[in-house]
C-alpha cells in the first residue's frame, strides 16, 4: 500500500467498533447492510409463501385458518414489494453507483445511512407486529373499506400503513442520494452518454420513485387519518370515495412494478455486455427505452381497475398504453439478443441467470399484454392467472437478473468469487422450480381459481395443479438455500478475486476487490463508455484526477452534462446521529399508530437528533476554511 493509499484509508474509513458501526456513512458499508437486510426480508417473505403453498397443496386443508392466511399473503406481498424488491435495487445502487461513476463517496452519505436505518426499523416493526398477531390482513394493496376503520378491526392495517411511511421515506431519500450522485459526482469525462446502463436504469428508477411514491404516502396517510382521527377521505357515506384509494394506490403501484423491473434491465445490460465480451448493441436505443418505460409506466395504473366503473374510452386508452409499454422492453430484448448473437460468450452463472430471464420474462411480458386487454383482463383479473403473470414478470424480470448480479458483483463486494458449481445448481433448481411453481397457476386462473383464497373445496378440481405448484415452490426454496450456502462458504473459502475477475469494462472493476474506503486511490478520468475496454488512450490526456485533498474527505463535483470538473466539496464524516434520528423517527411513526399526539411529542426528539446531526464541529470548520484559502495543489 502506498503512502497515499494509507492516508486516504485513514481519511475515509468508518470508525472501528460497535459505535463506529452505528456511525458508518460509507456507501459500501451501508450498501452491504442494505443488501443483506433486503435478502433477509426476501427469505422471510419466501418462508411465508412456502407456508401459503403448503396450505394450498391440497383442498380443504386445515393447516392455516383464514385469519392467519390473510395475514400471510398480506405480509408476503408487503414484504416482497416494500421490504425486498424496491430496497434491494436501491441497495445495489447505493453500493455500485458511486463506484460505477468513479466517485470517492456517495452524495449525502449521512442521509443515506438514515434511509437505511429507517428502512430497517420499518421492516422490524412489521415483523414484530406480525409475530404479535397484529399482522396486516387486508392485502398488500389494502383496499378500503376492508382496510378502513370499520372493517379493518384493530391496529393491523395501521401497521401496514405505517410500514408504507417508513419505506417511502427511505425510498425517497435514497432516490435523492442516487440522483445527486449520478448528476454531480461523476468522474471527469463521464458524459451522460457514457453512463453505464445500470446507472441509467437507476437514474430513471430514482426519478420514478420521486414522482410515484408521494402518491402512496398521501394515500396511506389519509388511511391512517381515517382510522385514527375519523376523517372521511374514503367514506362514501360522508362524501369520500373508496375508489380514490385505488387510484392513488395504483398510480404508485404500477410504476412500482417498473422500479423493480428497470434496475433488473440495468443489471442485465451489464451482465450481457461483460459475458458476451462486447459492448451492448444499440446503447442510445437502450437508454431511450429505459426512459420511455419510465414515462409510460405512469399511464397504466387503471389496468388494475378495469372491473370498477371505468368509462369505455378510458379503458381503451389504458389498454393502448399497456400494449405500448411492451415496445421499449421489446427493443431492449432484441438489442440483447443481437449482442449475444455477435458476442463471444463466457458461460458463467451470471450469464445463466440472464438467459433464464429471457425465457421467464418474455412469458411474463406476453401474459402482461394479455392482461392489458380489457376483455381478457375482466376474465383473469384477480385470479391465479395474475399471480402467475406477476411472478413471471417480477421474478423473471428482477429476481433472476438480481441473482445474476449477486454472482457477478460478489467478488467486488467481498474479494472472493462465488462457487461456480453450486451456482449452476442454484440456477437450474431455481429455473425449473420456478416454472413448476408458477406455470400451473395460469391454468388455475382460467379454471376460475380466485386469488387470496385460504382454501378451496375438492370438488373444484384444483388440487393436482396446486400440489404441483407447491412442489415447485419448495424447489425454489431449496435453490435459495443453495445460494445462501454458496455465499457463506465462498465468503470464507472462495477463490480470491482480482480487481477485475470477469474482464469487465466499467469503472467499479478499476479498483481493488473489495474496494478501499475511498473507492479509488487514483480517481479515474473517463474517455469511453467502457473505460477499462478503452482501446486508444489519447496520448497526453490525464488518466487520473489530481488536486483532491487526501487528509480530508473531499469529493470532486462535476457538471451535469459533460462531467467537467466544477468544484471540490467536503463530504461529511461518520456520525451516529443519522441512527439516532432514525430511532426518534421510528418512535414517532409507531407511536402515531396509537395516538395522534405522538406526532406532536414525537417530533421533539427528532428535532433534537437532526440538530445534532447538522451541528458543525470546530475542526471541520477550520479545515474547510483553510482549504478555501489555499487549495492543496500537488
Amino acid at each position: 500500500m502506498t503512502a497515499d493509499a494509507a492516508l486516504l484509508e485513514r481519511t475515509w474509513a468508518d470508525r472501528p467498533g460497535f459505535a463506529g458501526w452505528l456511525a458508518a456513512v460509507d456507501h459500501k458499508s451501508i450498501g452491504k447492510r442494505f443488501i443483506v437486510t433486503a435478502f433477509c426480508f426476501f427469505v422471510a417473505g419466501g418462508l411465508l409463501a412456502a407456508l401459503m403453498r403448503a396450505q394450498l397443496a391440497r383442498p380443504d386443508n386445515k393447516l392455516v385458518g383464514p385469519d392467519l392466511y390473510n395475514q400471510l399473503f398480506t405480509m408476503h406481498g408487503s414484504t416482497m414489494m416494500f421490504l425486498f424488491a424496491v430496497p434491494v435495487m436501491e441497495a445495489m445502487a447505493v453500493y455500485l453507483v458511486p463506484l460505477m461513476v468513479g466517485a470517492r463517496a456517495i452524495a449525502f452519505p449521512r442521509m443515506n445511512a438514515y434511509a437505511y436505518w429507517i428502512y430497517l426499523f420499518g421492516g422490524l416493526m412489521l415483523y414484530v407486529a406480525f409475530f404479535l398477531k397484529v399482522g396486516p390482513d387486508a392485502g398488500w394493496f389494502s383496499y378500503v373499506p376492508l382496510a378502513g376503520p370499520e372493517y379493518g378491526v384493530g391496529k393491523r392495517s395501521d401497521f401496514w400503513a405505517q410500514l408504507i411511511t417508513f419505506t417511502e421515506v427511505s425510498g425517497l431519500l435514497v432516490s435523492i442520494v442516487i440522483i445527486t450522485t449520478i448528476f454531480k459526482l461523476r468522474a471527469p469525462g463521464m458524459t451522460l452518454d457514457r453512463l453505464p446502463l445500470f446507472v441509467w436504469a437507476m437514474l430513471v428508477t430514482s426519478f420514478m420513485v420521486l414522482f410515484a411514491m408521494p402518491s402512496v404516502m398521501l394515500a396511506s396517510t389519509m388511511l391512517i387519518m381515517d382510522r385514527l382521527v375519523g376523517t372521511q377521505f374514503y367514506n362514501p357515506a360522508a362524501g369520500g370515495d373508496a375508489i380514490l384509494w385505488q387510484h392513488l394506490f395504483w398510480f404508485f403501484g404500477h410504476p412500482e412494478v417498473y422500479f423493480i423491473f428497470i434496475p433488473g434491465l440495468g443489471f442485465l445490460s451489464m451482465l450481457i455486455s461483460t459475458f458476451s465480451r462486447r459492448p451492448v448493441f444499440g446503447y442510445p436505443a437502450m437508454v431511450l427505452s429505459l426512459v420511455a418505460t419510465g414515462f409510460l409506466s405512469f399511464g397504466l395504473w387503471v389496468h388494475h381497475m378495469f372491473a370498477t366503473n371505468v368509462p369505455e374510452l378510458g379503458k381503451s386508452f389504458f389498454t393502448a398504453m399497456s400494449m405500448m409499454i411492451a415496445i421499449p422492453s421489446a427493443v431492449q430484448i432484441f438489442c440483447w439478443l443481437a449482442t449475444l448473437l455477435t458476442g463471444r460468450l463466457n458461460m458463467k452463472t451470471p450469464l445463466l441467470f440472464a438467459l433464464g430471464f429471457f425465457f421467464i420474462l418474455v412469458i411474463g411480458g406476453l401474459t402482461g399484454v394479455l392482461l392489458g386487454s380489457v376483455p381478457l383482463d375482466l376474465q383473469v383479473h384477480d385470479t391465479y392467472f395474475v399471480v402467475a403473470h406477476l411472478h413471471y414478470v417480477l421474478i423473471g424480470g428482477a429476481v433472476f437478473p438480481l441473482f445474476g448480479a449477486w454472482y457477478y458483483w460478489f467478488p467486488k463486494f467481498t474479494g472472493r468469487l462465488m462457487g461456480e458449481r453450486l451456482g449452476r445448481w442454484n440456477f437450474w433448481l431455481f429455473f425449473v422450480g420456478f416454472n413448476v411453481a408458477f406455470w400451473p397457476m395460469h391454468h388455475l386462473g382460467l379454471q376460475g381459481m380466485p386469488r387470496r383464497v385460504y382454501t378451496y373445496s375438492a370438488e373444484m378440481g384444483w388440487g393436482t395443479l396446486n400440489l404441483i405448484s407447491t412442489l415447485g415452490a419448495f424447489t425454489i426454496a431449496a435453490s435459495v438455500l443453495l445460494f445462501v450456502i454458496n455465499a457463506v462458504t465462498s465468503l470464507r473459502r472462495g477463490t480470491p478475486a482480482s480487481a477485475n475477475p470477469w474482464g469487465a469494462g466499467t469503472l467499479e472493476w478499476a479498483t481493488a476487490s473489495p474496494p478501499p474506503s475511498c473507492n479509488f486511490v487514483e480517481l479515474p478520468v473517463v474517455r469511453a463508455r467502457d473505460p477499462l475496454w478503452d482501446p486508444a488512450a489519447e496520448p497526453g490526456s490525464p488518466r487520473r484526477v489530481q488536486g483532491l485533498a487526501e487528509d480530508t474527505r473531499e469529493v470532486l463535483v462535476t457538471t451535469l452534462m459533460e462531467a467537467r470538473p466544477d468544484h471540490r466539496m467536503a463530504s461529511p464524516a461518520p456520525t451516529p446521529w443519522p441512527f439516532w434520528s432514525a430511532v426518534a423517527t421510528a418512535v414517532m411513526f409507531v407511536g402515531s399508530i396509537f395516538t395522534p399526539w405522538a406526532v406532536v411529542w414525537g417530533s421533539i426528539p427528532i428535532a433534537i437528533a437532526v440538530i445534532a446531526w447538522f451541528w458543525p464541529t470546530r475542526a471541520e470548520t477550520r479545515k474547510s476554511l483553510e482549504r478555501e484559502k489555499q487549495p492543496a495543489l500537488p
Partner: protein, 323 residues
C-alpha cells in the same frame, strides 16, 4: 362446485364470454408465435456465438464500426412487434365494443348486493307483486338479456361468473352494472373475485339458466310467500325461528321475520346450496350449519345455535318446508 355447476373462463355459455374466448385464442396464438421467435433467436445466438473466457480481450469494434445488419434485424423485429401489438389492440377494442353492445330489449333486471360473505338477490319488476328476493342463487331465462345492478353493503366484492362474462366490482357508494345473457341452459358457478375478508374463499353463488317457461315457473314459485307449515314438528320449528335469534337477521316473506342482515329464507329449501355456494343443500348440512357455522366457514357472521336434537330437527323440518 356442487353437482354439475360449470366454472371455466374458456367454456363460454353466453355471447360475452364467447367474444372473450375468441380474443383469448387470437392473443394466445400471437403471443405463442412471438415467444417461439424470441426463443429461436436466443437458441441461434447461443449456438452460433463462440465461447470465451474472462481474460479474453473484449471486442470493441462496434464502437467505431456500424453494425447495419444487426440494426436492420432489430428494427424489423421491433416493427413486427409494434404491428402485432396494433393487431391485438384493435382486436381488443373491437371485442370490448361487442361485449358492451349486448341488446338490452326485454331485459330482466336483477339487483345483487354483496355482503360479507353472501349475495342478496332482488328481482326487480315494474309490477310490484312480481318483485321478489332470494339469495346466493340467480335464475335466468336462456336467451334473454339480464342486467344485473351491483351494490355492496360493506366492503368491495366482485361479481364473476366465468362462463358468462368477466368481472364487475361491487363498490360501496357506487352502483355498477353488468349485462349477461346465457345462451345455453346450465348451472354456472359464480364467485366473489375481490378479496373481501375472512370468508372470501367461500363467497360463491350459482347462476341457473333454464328455458323461459321453466324460469317463469321458478319465478312464480319464488313470488309466493312461504307456506304455513302443516305438521306439528315444522310448526314447532317455526315458533323456534320466530322466537329465537333467527328472525333478528333473516327474512321469510309471509311471516313476521323481515330482517335483511342475512339471506332471505323464504324459499331456502328450493335452493341447491347453503352458505353461499359452499354446502350442498341437504337437511344434514343445514342442521350442521345451524349448530356451528364456524366449522364450515370460520369467521362467518352467523352465531352458533346449540339446539338440542328435537328443537334442531323441528327447525330443520320447518326450513325444509320452505320450498
Amino acid at each position: 362446485m356442487i353437482g354439475h355447476a360449470l366454472h371455466d373462463a374458456l367454456d363460454a355459455a353466453g355471447p360475452q364470454a364467447g367474444h372473450i374466448v375468441h380474443l383469448w385464442w387470437l392473443t394466445v396464438a400471437i403471443c405463442t408465435a412471438v415467444f417461439a421467435a424470441v426463443m429461436a433467436a436466443l437458441v441461434v445466438a447461443l449456438k452460433r456465438a463462440p465461447r470465451a473466457q474472462a481474460g479474453d480481450p473484449p471486442d470493441v469494434s462496434s464502437l467505431t464500426r456500424a453494425e447495419p445488419t444487426l440494426f436492420r434485424a432489430v428494427t424489423a423485429a421491433v416493427a413486427a412487434s409494434a404491428v402485432l401489438l396494433m393487431v391485438l389492440l384493435v382486436a381488443s377494442i373491437a371485442t370490448d365494443r361487442a361485449i358492451a353492445s349486448l341488446p338490452g330489449e326485454g331485459a330482466l333486471h336483477i339487483e345483487v348486493t354483496g355482503h360479507q360473505w353472501w349475495w342478496a338477490v332482488h328481482y326487480d319488476d315494474a309490477q310490484l307483486d312480481r318483485v321478489f328476493d332470494t339469495a346466493n342463487e340467480i335464475h335466468v331465462p336462456v336467451g334473454r338479456p339480464v342486467i344485473v345492478s351491483l351494490e355492496s353493503a360493506d366492503v368491495i366484492h366482485s361479481f364473476w361468473v366465468p362462463n358468462l362474462h368477466g368481472k364487475k366490482d361491487l363498490i360501496p357508494g357506487h352502483t355498477t352494472s353488468i349485462s349477461l345473457r346465457a345462451d345455453k341452459p346450465g348451472i354456472y358457478r359464480g364467485q366473489c373475485a375481490e378479496f373481501c375478508g375472512l370468508q372470501h374463499a367461500f363467497m360463491a353463488f350459482e347462476v341457473v339458466a333454464s328455458p323461459p317457461a321453466e324460469y317463469e315457473a321458478w319465478a312464480q314459485a319464488q313470488r309466493r310467500p312461504a307456506a304455513e307449515p302443516s305438521d306439528a314438528q315444522a310448526q314447532h320449528g317455526k315458533e323456534l325461528f320466530m322466537s329465537g335469534t333467527c328472525m333478528l337477521c333473516h327474512a321469510i316473506d309471509g311471516t313476521t321475520a323481515g330482517a335483511r342482515m342475512a339471506p332471505n329464507l323464504t324459499h331456502v329449501a328450493s335452493r341447491r346450496t347453503l352458505a353461499a355456494g359452499t354446502l350442498e343443500n341437504t337437511p344434514q348440512n343445514l342442521a350442521a350449519w345451524i349448530l356451528d357455522p364456524q366449522k364450515a366457514k370460520p369467521g362467518a357472521q352467523m352465531p352458533a345455535h346449540p339446539l338440542d336434537g328435537s328443537d334442531l330437527g323441528a327447525l330443520v323440518a320447518y326450513l325444509e318446508t320452505l320450498k
